[in-house]
Amino acid sequence: MPISEGNPGAHVPLAPAVFVTGKGGVGKTTVAAGLALAAAQADGESVYVEFGDGAGGRRVLRNRPGGLEHITLDPSRAVVKAATPVFGSARLAKLALDNFAMRPLIRAAPAIRELGVLELARQVVAEHPGKRVVFDMPATGHSVAWLKVARQGRELTGRGPIHDVCARLEDELVSPGRASVVVVTLPERLVLFETLALCDTVEKEVGLLVDRLVVNRVPQAPSAAALADAAALSNTPGRVGEAAAKLAELLSVRTTLREQVMEALNETVHRHGEGKGVEKGLTLLPMSGKDPTAATVADWLRNAGAA
């Protein structure tokens, strides 16, 4: 089936926790905020979680409705906070982790910080029962490492307190039904190939399902009638003919770019993604002249049956 407008209504429902991921610059923040906003509009309440200074969420969630809670998590404080139960008390956790030797280790070593952040994420979901919690994840490589850390930590440690933290994360957060993954991508062939590889990793190595594949900024087809008229007019001699040729050239470039996009979607998502389930969660969002706000994206997602 060639792709035209996605499959309105055919989407599986999202789990309570939603992890939104994708390469840098694909529009993760607006899609994540759009999903949280759509959930708040439908259910009255939802939570949007981001990591860092909170500027991204504030930007796209202008005029945020009361039911939408915006939480910012600070990864640099995550470790000691999340480790408190492991060591029995905040004082012991600080003693073991916040010292001359461990501070540089935690600052430089991966996985430890990821585990802390994931544990904070679990706590946020546990503190908001019955609400949709949408996580605006860091860019690709990082976010997969992040989601994998629970399973890896459990397998790596075998037993002990870190093992128990990881096992609880797997049971309560990183499991199908508890969490959905939404992957955001752009309609370019090689980006799409990388995205499918990411979907594969999420399903095989993380053990979660990619419930939505959102293709952002899909260019609109230019008017075929205008292209035909401009091409016809370009045969007239003189300045008008030359000008019409310029217009025809611009429109045909746009037509070609749009065709390349649709061809790439068909080829990658349908041929290579077949049987991987990403096809049924496919959602196309249009290219727009301006930065879309979360409200606009929420409308698009709702109309596509993807909210």
């Binding site: 930007r59 001359f100 600052r107 205008a226 007019l233």
Partner: protein, 355 residues
């Protein structure tokens, strides 16, 4: 060898940073330089379009570089940790073998932030020497965290040079690792208890690292020489979105805190090159309805872009009055390499390289 000019292009995602960096490097080559473009997070599409393969070696590009020469280096992030281990333990193959079997190493293989950057900078250093490069353009990863890697090697060096390494390595040398062992201090005991059986792998990794401290410090110096040198020029790339502008503010703050104040703001897709043909069509008698509609839509696009451009340049001029601004056009063509060529004509190289 004299130190080459080093330019680092940074910016948020989706602003066309890789294309702009490639165009800048091409413009430098056209001005007679032997230029090298290094992509930390290579965009496959661009790499393919320019005929570059991802790998550890730089190669000359097939673009028409006029008087100069243009080389590209696009290290593959997926092999970073392995390349790093091989660089560190060049003279100790037995350690490489042991490390590649370490469970912790296997778990971390795909996930070590910063390592790829350290590797990329060392490969860059080698390319500069091998090809006698006189200007390098470094295209960082498209994320706010990209600037974190500038300080990362220092953090890693601090870790390796600090007490943690000797401490963990000593734990690794013991025959038994158990929290009940009373030769272990209280903090060690807590740590071993938290880590569980994996404590031995952690300690093993540290004792290997302790052996190559000096070599690591050398690799680290390449990174510092390229990225932390006071002559290194940081350029921030933006597009006309609010997100891109916020990323510029964030990166400007971060870089200024490191005393690496950005020297230029490059605004990509800031304007559409003048379309005189629109006026000709509008004044002719042969307009059809379809053409009229499409021209109205183009005018509307243009109005939106102009408004966003005015806001962006005004914000930048107010906040960064002493920083050079450079506007690049929005180019609509099918081939990515043609975009690189078209953009390369818009760089004022003498102004960008002025002291």
């Amino acid at each position: 060898m004299s130190r080459p000019e080093v330019i680092v292009c940074s910016g948020g995602g989706g602003v066309g940073k890789t294309t702009v960096s490639a165009a800048l490097a091409l413009a430098l080559a056209k001005n007679g330089y032997r230029a090298l473009i290094v992509s930390i997070d290579p965009a496959r599409r661009l790499a393919d379009a320019m005929g570059v393969e991802l790998g550890t070696k730089a190669r000359e590009l097939s673009l028409d570089a006029g008087r100069g020469q243009l080389f590209a280096l696009m290290p593959d992030p997926h092999n970073a940790l392995r390349t790093f281990i091989e660089m560190l333990f060049e003279e100790e193959p037995a350690s490489v073998e042991r490390l590649l079997k370490n469970r912790l190493y296997l778990a971390l293989e795909a996930a070590v932030p910063g390592i790829h950057e350290v590797v990329a900078m060392s490969l860059t250093w080698r390319a500069i020497v091998d090809y006698d490069i006189d200007v390098v353009v470094i295209d960082t990863a498209p994320s706010r965290n990209a600037v974190d890697f500038i300080g990362y090697p220092k953090r890693l060096a601090k870790l390796l040079g600090g007490r943690a390494v000797g401490w963990m390595a000593a734990i690794g040398k013991r025959t038994s690792i158990s929290p009940e062992d009373d030769r272990m201090g209280r903090v060690e005991g807590l740590l071993v208890r938290a880590l569980g059986p994996v404590a031995r792998d952690v300690a093993g990794l540290f004792s290997e690292m302790a052996r190559v401290r000096e070599r690591f410090i050398m690799l680290n110096e390449h990174t510092s020489e390229l990225l932390l040198h006071p002559d290194t020029r940081y350029f921030l790339v933006a597009s006309l979105t609010v997100a891109a502008r916020d990323d510029v503010h964030y990166l400007f703050r971060k870089l200024s805190a490191l005393e690496l104040v950005p020297r230029a703001l490059i605004i990509n897709s800031e304007f559409v090159p003048k379309r005189n043909w629109i006026d000709v069509l509008e004044n002719s008698d042969e307009m059809t309805t379809a053409i009229r509609e499409v021209i109205a839509a183009l005018d509307e696009e243009d109005t939106i872009r102009k408004r966003a451009a005015q806001r962006t340049t005004a914000v930048f001029s107010r906040r960064y009055p002493n920083v050079l601004q450079l506007s690049l056009p929005f180019i609509e063509v099918v081939e990515p390499r043609n975009i690189v060529h078209a953009l390369s004509d818009y760089f004022d190289i003498p102004a960008l390289l002025a002291r």
